[in-house]
């Protein structure tokens, strides 16, 4: 039963959604919109499960003083403070309420934004070190890759004078012909893979997500 019911549900709703794609009628649309609403509801419950998992894992780390338990403490503090100020309706702690709460907005503007922007900016440095390590003319293909990378990077460089239009045209050709051809090939392969895997899931062939009886 524990496996049959989810498999049956996946099959029924999977086949329904396939059929619904071909039925434009209003009545079919109504059922589709009804399912969309339910997916939101299920998603919110899953979020609650996730938050509970995070709280439990962090609490255990703090309680048993596992290595680096201090990070878990900061995680929980951040979680609770944001919830506290975000749910401030009517109490006006530090003025305004809910998501316009001054503390909530300040945490967002002065802590979250700089931290996330910093993490993303790490990419610049990692790209530099990865490019330095990887773009070596080890073979003919590697040399081609190196040259293509150099041309693309120089594409909008305004300092090359008369050569700039030729670099731009070559870079444009590289992006729009071989790059596009390879990407389309991978997209088609991935698309077929998605269709195959979706069919496997709907037909119950792929059951890894179900667990054991």
């Amino acid at each position: 039963m524990k496996r049959q019911v989810p498999l049956a549900l996946v099959f029924i709703f999977g086949i329904f959604m396939i059929i619904q794609y071909f039925i434009p009628h209003e009545k079919s649309e109504w059922v589709y919109e009804f399912f969309l609403d339910w997916i939101y509801i299920i998603g919110i419950f899953a979020l609650a499960l996730g938050i509970w998992s995070l709280i439990r894992v962090s609490y255990d780390k703090i309680k048993y003083r596992r290595p680096n338990w201090q990070y878990a403490a900061i995680t929980l503090l951040g979680l609770f403070f944001m919830i506290l100020f975000g749910f401030d309706y009517g109490r006006h702690i530090f003025s305004a309420e809910g998501l316009r709460n001054y503390m909530f907005v300040s945490f967002f503007d002065y802590i979250l934004i700089p931290i996330q922007a910093t993490m993303f900016s790490l990419l610049a440095f990692f790209i530099a070190s990865a490019a330095y390590r990887a773009f070596r003319a080890r073979s003919a293909l590697a040399t081609l890759l190196l040259l293509a990378a150099l041309i693309i990077m120089l594409r909008f460089n305004p300092y090359f004078g008369a050569v700039t239009p030729y670099i731009e045209k070559t870079a444009g050709w590289l992006l729009n012909v071989p790059n596009l051809a390879a990407k389309r090939a991978i997209i088609i392969g991935v698309g077929l893979g998605i269709v195959a895997t979706s069919l496997k899931v709907i037909l119950g062939i792929e059951r890894a997500y179900l667990g054991k009886d």
């Binding site: 794609y21 996730g50 998992s53 680096n68 990419l123 077929l192 890894a208």
Partner: protein, 409 residues
Amino acid sequence: MKLTFLIACCVLFLGFPVAGFAQDTPEEAQPADSITTPIPAPPGNVTAWDTENDHGHSVSLSWEPSPDDGTGLGNVIGYIVFRSDSPDGPFVDRGVQPAGASGHTDVGSKEEASQDYMADYVDYYYKVRAITADSLVFAESVMVGPVQSYGQWFNTGRIPVLVFVLCFMAITIFFIQKAKSGANLFVRRLAGIEAVDEAIGRATEMGKPILYVLGLGTAADIATIASYTILGRVAKKIAEYQTGLIVPCYDPITMTVAQETVKTAYMDAGRPDAYNEDMVYFVTQSQFAYVAAVNGTMLRERPATNIYMGKFYAESLILAETGALAGSIQIAGTDEIAQIPFFVVACDYTLIGEELYAASAYLGREPLLLGSLKAQDYAKAAVIILAILGVIAMNVGLDGFKDLFYISN
């Protein structure tokens, strides 16, 4: 004198009925200042029909442009479509088309409370008016109707998709049956997957855990579903070798499924006691906060092997480079094309695109999974052949070939 009077009477007595008759035809206003703007010819052959392949509440129209649109008088600047639910009016403006246009779709709302509501199964009447720069000078077509709008029960514009899905299902079932009957279906070597065993062995020797990252997709993403299967196999091997496993999750639903998958793997390996629910945990649904957490885990726990399988975005290089810094063997697989180059550069083995989906069949060698993998390959071959045929057809002028694959909304 008498002749003059006679002519004046003729003009008076005959002119009025003529003028009156002119007024009875569809409105042709001619105030004094429009003497310089001649009246254009109306659009002809107006037809209206229910818009096809939709949910209703829509009528399509076509007409022959006015002879004075672009040629003749050349004073037509556009067309206005009018609709009424009665042949006597009142007619309301339902949209404007520029000069040269020969069609329009009148789309109404399906919400009864909306001002734009257009009911189905109600008679509608249409007129198309050719307009000029002088708003008082125009020419209207004859009225057409009644026409009713209604929803269709089958979208014929999507028949190519239906044909493809049915063919693909047929090929899949054929190859599954073939695999079940014991036929040996060849699958080429996937270096990334073969390296997993070696990587797990390395981790066991070093006494370090294995970090498995399911990616930033939701549980419904196909890449994540493929990743669950690989996680199951990896977890089973890890359970057998008694190595540690760390699975930080981005999505809560993914976490619950991953927990089930790992628990099942440990039970299959005969080590249910070794399973700890905290191996698989939720971190956050914020992209870079998740990456920061995983990076921190990598640098503190120093896993021997990092396995990245699923959907990754901009954080892929940060994860891979940090893993390289920590000295781990790294095996990655994603269908996100933009991230594949980063994994290729920074990881030891990479599964590209559909190789990730094939990994589940490759690992288990189950007939059902191998059969569907074969079907995928044959479908790809069919796409290649059709693409080549399409190129040839377009070059020899057989434009109809591409229309066979046209998918409308």
